[in-house]
């Protein structure tokens, strides 16, 4: 004899999978958009690198500054003449940065009269950043060289102008540099269970109330906890499945970059996929239980949908807080639902070692919250105002 909760689980899964429209929405929104985001981001990053790697400047009036042109050519910099309407083009984003040399440059330069050079750019466009910095860097280098030569010409040691030598030592591993990029994977890992469990959570609570099927369902000789458990397991199963698909999409997408410079940054393969699921599955238990609890208060599908979107907003807010508040890792964060998962998943992405507390604490808390929510739903379904309070 099959326990009642399995009967409920089977029915809810069958019912949910027949809802093609929702299934398609989940497929597109979650399973495809995740990797798509990653591909776009990766393209963006590699685009930045390419722009920075190719040393090319656009100039107006280069004929006025033979000394500067000579310097650039000696440094293998390609000089391109900017079109006359360069200002318009910069505004439109078709040019990143243009060096403008005035007519009197050479005369003033030779006479030591501080000639002016303009860099024209639009710094509201982040993708122009590298080109702007490059133009700046080249002009500064030219300044330095000229200055040195003038000091030497006057018999002064050039070291006097450089009292402190600065050298760069960057400790970030390539993988950590990619962490910014991989930040999106923990975010999707935390949002996809919400998307996956939503339809069942709404349909099996507020949906039952709205269509008047809750009262006859509860008239069956089955303890309410069995009915609630079956519904919850259905929501949890779908939440987990959608999360697993989404993350698998990321794993597949990251293999496209295996041959590139980005491969070191984007290590998200099968081992990481499994590690992620170990954290995400208990998390999905919590989110589906929370969704069911708040949806039980909804008298209609639409009302419940509104409540669920509030929950999604709260969850998606956490990664944003982490980004902008610049939180440093601390033990207490593990104890906060969502934040704890976010911290642990980020560490996995960075390739940091995880301790026992990282593995156990967030998941244990998530499962406790799930149990509490399920118990609350069982209580609510024993209340006459919920069972009979229809629209």
């Amino acid at each position: 004899m099959r326990p009642a909760f399995l009967t409920v689980l089977r029915k809810e899964l069958r019912d949910a999978l027949r809802d093609r429209r929702t299934a398609l929405m989940v497929l597109v929104a979650s399973v495809l958009s995740g990797p798509l985001t990653l591909v776009l981001l990766a393209q963006f990053v590699s685009g930045l690198e390419e722009k920075a790697a190719s040393t090319k400047v656009r100039m107006v009036g280069s004929a006025n500054a033979p000394s500067l042109v000579n310097f650039l050519q000696r440094n293998d910099v390609e000089i391109e003449q900017a079109p006359a309407d360069y200002e318009k083009r910069v505004k439109e984003g078709r040019l990143d940065a243009v060096i403008v040399i005035p007519d009197d440059f050479d005369a003033r330069f030779v006479g030591g009269e501080e000639p002016r050079v303009e860099i024209v750019y639009d710094d509201s466009r982040t993708e122009s950043g590298p080109a702007i910095r490059q133009a700046e860097r080249l002009l500064r280098a030219f300044n330095r060289e000229t200055g040195m030569l003038r000091l030497v010409a006057r018999g002064v040691s050039p070291d006097l102008a450089d009292p402190v030598k600065v050298e760069h030592v960057n400790t970030a591993t390539p993988r950590q540099k990619g962490a910014f990029l991989l930040f999106v994977i923990p975010m999707f890992a935390l949002l996809s269970p919400l998307l996956g469990g939503m339809a069942v959570a709404i349909d099996s609570t507020a949906g039952e109330r709205e269509r008047g099927s809750l009262e006859p369902l509860l008239a069956n000789p089955v303890p309410t906890r069995h009915i609630v458990a079956g519904k919850w397991l259905a929501a949890w199963t779908l939440a987990t499945a959608v999360a697993a698909f989404t993350l698998a999409g990321f794993a597949v997408a990251s293999t496209f970059y295996a041959q590139r410079k980005l491969s070191a940054m984007m290590a998200f393969g099968l081992p990481e996929w499994i590690e992620f699921l170990v954290v995400v599955i208990p998390f999905a238990a919590m989110t589906s239980a929370l969704q069911m609890l708040i949806c039980t208060y909804g008298r209609s599908y639409r009302e419940a949908q509104t409540y669920v979107s509030y929950l999604a907003t709260v969850v998606s807010f956490v990664p944003i807080v982490v980004i902008f508040a610049g939180l440093k890792d601390a033990a207490w964060q593990l104890a906060i639902p969502v934040l704890g998962q976010q911290v642990v998943l980020s560490r996995m992405v960075r390739g940091d070692a995880l301790g026992m507390a990282d593995w156990l604490l967030p998941s244990t808390i998530a499962l406790c919250i799930a149990a509490f929510c399920i118990a609350a739903v069982v209580r609510l379904l024993g209340q006459e105002r919920i069972v009979f309070g229809r629209t």
């Binding site: 006859p216 369902l217 089955v222 303890p223 009979f388």
Partner: protein, 242 residues
């Protein structure tokens, strides 16, 4: 057998049901007759264990509804006021879901569905999704769902509401067959004709209390009228709102 003893229910100091007592024996059709808002639905909900009585109690085959709700539910087939179906499931799946929740074996579920499809003339509906069903077709599925486990006691809350003449007639036939099979049938209605056509016993409920109880002839005698409708108006009108 279903027995109500001094049932009462208050919602926030409003008495929905004040004092309802009746006995519905096996092999008889008992009708709860009363105007809208008389407390019929709340009474049936208390008998089906979904609403807890404030006062009094009810017994199904001698089992107290408040003490042994699961055992009571197992002995009941209920067509409640709310009779929503799962639109994405077929008629057969809707019925089989409840049968499985009642721990019936797959073979018993299949034969139960076949029996009811025959009785309710709904074979052609079984493997279609409930989505596009008419009111009458939905009602047939809901009735089949309530009766699939062949319960000894049947509660029907306003079963003919919104049904056309043909469906109403076939529903009456189903109810008569239940009586022939020795079941205890309780059904509520606010329609005089229906109750007088069908019921062996009539319980008239007004303002949350039973005002008269007995076969149609007895009620006529009690009220001193010759027409049952007059008798109903007279008896229901006697009870003044509390």
């Amino acid at each position: 057998m279903i027995e109500a003893r001094g049932l009462g229910k208050s919602f926030n100091a409003v008495d929905a049901v004040r004092d309802v007592s009746f006995v519905a024996p096996d092999g008889r059709i008992t009708g709860l007759l009363g105007p809208n808002g008389a407390g019929k639905t709340t009474t049936l909900r208390m008998v089906s264990t979904l609403v807890r009585p404030t006062r009094g109690s009810a017994f199904v085959d001698g089992l107290d509804v408040t003490r042994e709700p699961l055992a009571v539910r197992a002995r009941l087939g209920v067509l409640s006021d709310a009779r929503g179906l799962y639109a994405r499931l077929t008629a057969r799946e809707n019925i089989a879901y409840y049968a499985a929740l009642r721990a019936m074996s797959p073979a018993a579920i299949e034969s139960g569905i076949a029996r009811l499809a025959d009785l309710l003339d709904m074979k052609a509906l079984l493997d279609r999704r409930v989505d596009g069903f008419s009111q009458g077709e939905r009602m047939k599925v809901a009735i089949a769902r309530a009766l699939v486990h062949d319960p000894r006691n049947v509660l029907l809350d306003e079963p003919t509401n919104g049904l056309d003449v043909m469906t109403t007639r076939s529903l009456r036939e189903v109810i008569r067959r239940l009586r022939e099979a020795g079941k205890c049938v309780v059904f509520s209605s606010h329609v005089m004709q229906e109750v007088s056509h069908l019921c062996d016993e009539i319980v008239i409920v007004a303002h949350g209390a039973v005002v008269a109880h007995g076969p149609a002839e007895a009620l006529l005698a009690q009220s001193g009228r010759t027409d049952l409708e007059d008798a109903f108006v007279h008896l229901a009108g006697e009870a003044t709102a509390p």
